[in-house]
Amino acid sequence: MSDFKVNHREGAGIHVIELKGYLDAHTATDLESAFQRLINDQKFRIVVNCRDLTYISSAGLGVFMAYIEDVRKNQGDIKLTNMSSKVYNVFDLLGFPILYEIYKDEQEAIRKFGESSTGR
């Protein structure tokens, strides 16, 4: 049924989470535990690369909402990149672009972290 993978890599203090496949209520817990791990480890500079994300449901969006405040309270951020137009449309429908920084590609998001000492 739903096929979903979360991959995590790190470079220069920025943690990139790559999402692959189908993010719905069933797989939302996988992403949740990935965020939880980073936050437990005090890693708050997070880029989520959505290049291979084929679908996102509301439960998936909810996971982003659940962690953004924790991360920002700790001078970090969750920046989103490489969204397909289909996935972007879902984010846009619910007004997420007001709340999240969304970039065309990963490098741009990483540069943005570099531009401000707070990570925002």
Binding site: D24, A25, H26, A28, T29, E32, S57, S58, A59, G60, L61, G62, V63, F64, M65, A66, E69, N89, V90, L93, L94, G95, F96, I98, L99
Partner: protein, 569 residues
């Protein structure tokens, strides 16, 4: 008008029309129209209004006027179809436009319908609009009318599409959630998924989910500063029949106070979760990130979402309760096994006596116990007891009493002393709790046919003489396990002659109830025994038990029934 002049003016008009009609972008069209007209007429202030629903017109675009007006809606009761000199009108909308220093309002027509208005301020050169100017304005506006209408319709189609997308997304969420909720029965997981959906689909940052527990609502999940602050509003919200905004609740007398409190805490809507018309939970939510207030469709959606979740939550609870129930049943099985193992498998033969006994455990497992043991020589220990309480604790206490009896009864000490020690052991085991044992035991010397006994608070066994006389074996003392022994137990002696019957029983017999709530009673017992007194011990036992059975009829047995009958032969 010379032909040269006309050509000069036609060329830019043609250019203007081409530019305006080549675009479907409303903002671009409006900006172009306004810029062109303001340039030609030397006007410093301009505004474009577009038609909304009915007679409403929305400020779409301004030049030289504060941006704050953009988005404002004006209601023009009878939208004028000709040029309007604003300063000559008294309408509210005209006054508002004059306050932005606009002088002239020009209707924008497309296929003879008003699609908007163009507002213009004073000309910078102070000149009045000549007939020629008016003709040019009319032409420019007419040329752009159909472009504006097309762009407006496109915008409406775009908005409709977005709304449709949103609806599809909402349905997807319900579908996604229902599939997931039906696959798991874990309460925490259900709450987490509900939270994700509130945040992800509805786009709320502040929310609380309360669930009913023992008749009261308790916070089960939340994302807010101080969830406990909500506690005070719960009782008033229990009667809510449908999802409502807090503003709407403010209008109802019963809800004014909680609604005010919720608004103060930053909440915008309350969604009850119902199971069979009963409020089993509440979802309370703050504003959305899209900042659009909750509409009727949103509330209905939230209600559907909440009610889907509550069904799963109730199922998860029922499942957990079923597991608890299973555990209790397992425990009961263990207790039953312990109890069964404590009762003698076979009764020893006692010379000169006929003996029969039976224990019928109730469903709930009480703590009845009886025993017959061979002691030294021709002596036999006979005992019966009833432990307070039910289940495993009762069974264990009974096991303790049995072990004490078996360990202590062979001793040469007096029955009184042995009973005292059994009581001390029981008191130590129950540690002053409200557990105890009513206990009767005795030592029957088969040669002399005498029974020495101690009755520690048990229903006095009955001796039915051949003469028909009845004696009760009631010498003894306090029930076992309540207090350590202070005063020694009294000891009784009775001699059983040929044909005498000794009946030991527990209150499950005498208190067996019929449908009318009437006890079987000791009187009925004696009546049965007298009637059957020539029967063997097992004949008496069966007769007694079937009399109890007949009395109780279909009333379920609430306590263990134990009878031990000894008949001197």
């Amino acid at each position: 008008m010379s032909s040269r002049r006309v050509t000069l003016e036609l060329q830019p008009l043609f250019e203007f029309s081409k530019v305006v009609n080549s675009s479907l972008d409303l903002e671009f069209i409006l900006a172009t129209v306004l810029r062109t007209i303001m340039g030609k007429m030397l006007v410093g202030k301009g505004m474009v209004l577009s038609r909304g629903d009915g007679t409403q017109f929305r400020v779409r675009f301004v030049r030289g006027i504060s941006d704050g007006l953009v988005g404002t809606t004006l209601r023009l009761a009878r939208p004028p179809r000709t040029f309007v000199h604003l300063r000559r009108r008294k309408d509210d909308w005209a006054t508002l436009l004059v306050s932005s220093e606009l002088d002239l309002l020009i209707p924008i027509l497309s296929r003879n319908a008003i699609v908007g208005y163009l507002g213009l301020g004073r000309r910078l050169n102070g000149a009045r609009y000549s007939a020629n100017d008016r003709a040019l304005l009319r032409s420019l506006v007419d040329l752009s009318g159909s472009a504006i209408e097309k762009a407006l319709i496109l915008g409406q189609v775009h908005d409709a599409n977005r709304n449709l997308d949103r609806k599809v997304q909402e349905l997807n969420t319900l579908f996604d959630l229902s599939r997931e909720l039906n696959s798991g029965l874990d309460l925490d997981k259900v709450l987490r998924l509900l939270s994700f959906s509130l945040m992800g689909q509805v786009g709320v940052r502040q929310y609380a989910v309360a669930l009913e527990r023992d008749g009261k609502l308790e916070i089960a999940a939340s994302r807010m500063e101080d969830p406990e602050a909500l506690r005070a509003v719960f009782p008033d919200l229990c009667t809510l029949k449908r999802a409502s905004t807090t503003q709407e609740l403010l209008k109802h007398r019963d809800c004014r106070r909680p609604a005010g409190e919720l608004i103060r805490l930053g909440f915008e809507a309350v969604v009850p979760m119902h199971v069979q018309q009963k409020t089993k939970g509440l979802i309370i939510i703050g504003p959305r990130i899209r900042t659009v207030p909750y509409g009727q469709a949103d509330l209905e959606y939230l209600y559907a979402l909440g009610n889907m979740a509550i069904v799963s939550i109730e199922n998860a609870r029922l499942f957990r309760d079923a597991i608890e129930m299973q555990k209790l049943e397992d425990e009961l099985m263990i207790a039953q096994e312990i109890q069964r193992d404590l009762l003698p498998e076979r009764l020893p033969e006692i010379p000169g006596f006929d003996i029969a006994a039976s224990n019928i455990p109730s469903k709930q497992v009480g703590g009845d116990y009886y025993d017959v043991l061979a002691r030294k020589g021709n002596e036999f220990v006979i005992a019966i007891g009833d432990v307070s309480g039910k289940g495993v604790p009762a069974a264990l206490l009974m096991a303790n009493a049995q072990a004490a009896l078996r360990a202590l009864s062979p001793s040469a000490d007096s029955l009184s002393e042995i009973t005292g020690r059994m009581n001390d052991l029981a008191a130590a085991n129950t540690r002053g709790g409200n557990k105890f044992i009513t206990f009767f035991w005795g030592v029957l010397d088969a040669s002399s046919r005498t029974l020495q006994y101690v009755n520690a608070g048990h229903n006095p066994p009955i001796v039915l003489r051949t003469s028909g006389a009845v004696e009760y074996l009631d010498k003894g003392g306090l029930i076992l396990g309540v207090l350590p022994t202070r005063t020694p137990y009294e000891q009784g002696t009775v001699r059983l002659e040929r044909g005498d019957i000794l009946v030991l029983y527990t209150d499950g017999v005498s208190e067996a109830m019929n449908a009318g709530g009437e006890d079987f009673s000791e009187e009925r017992m004696l009546e049965v025994l007298r009637h059957l007194r020539t029967e063997s011990a097992s004949g008496l036992l069966n007769g007694l038990l079937s009399a109890v059975d007949q009395h109780a009829a279909s009333t379920p047995q609430s306590d263990d029934i134990t009878v031990l009958i000894l008949r001197a032969t």
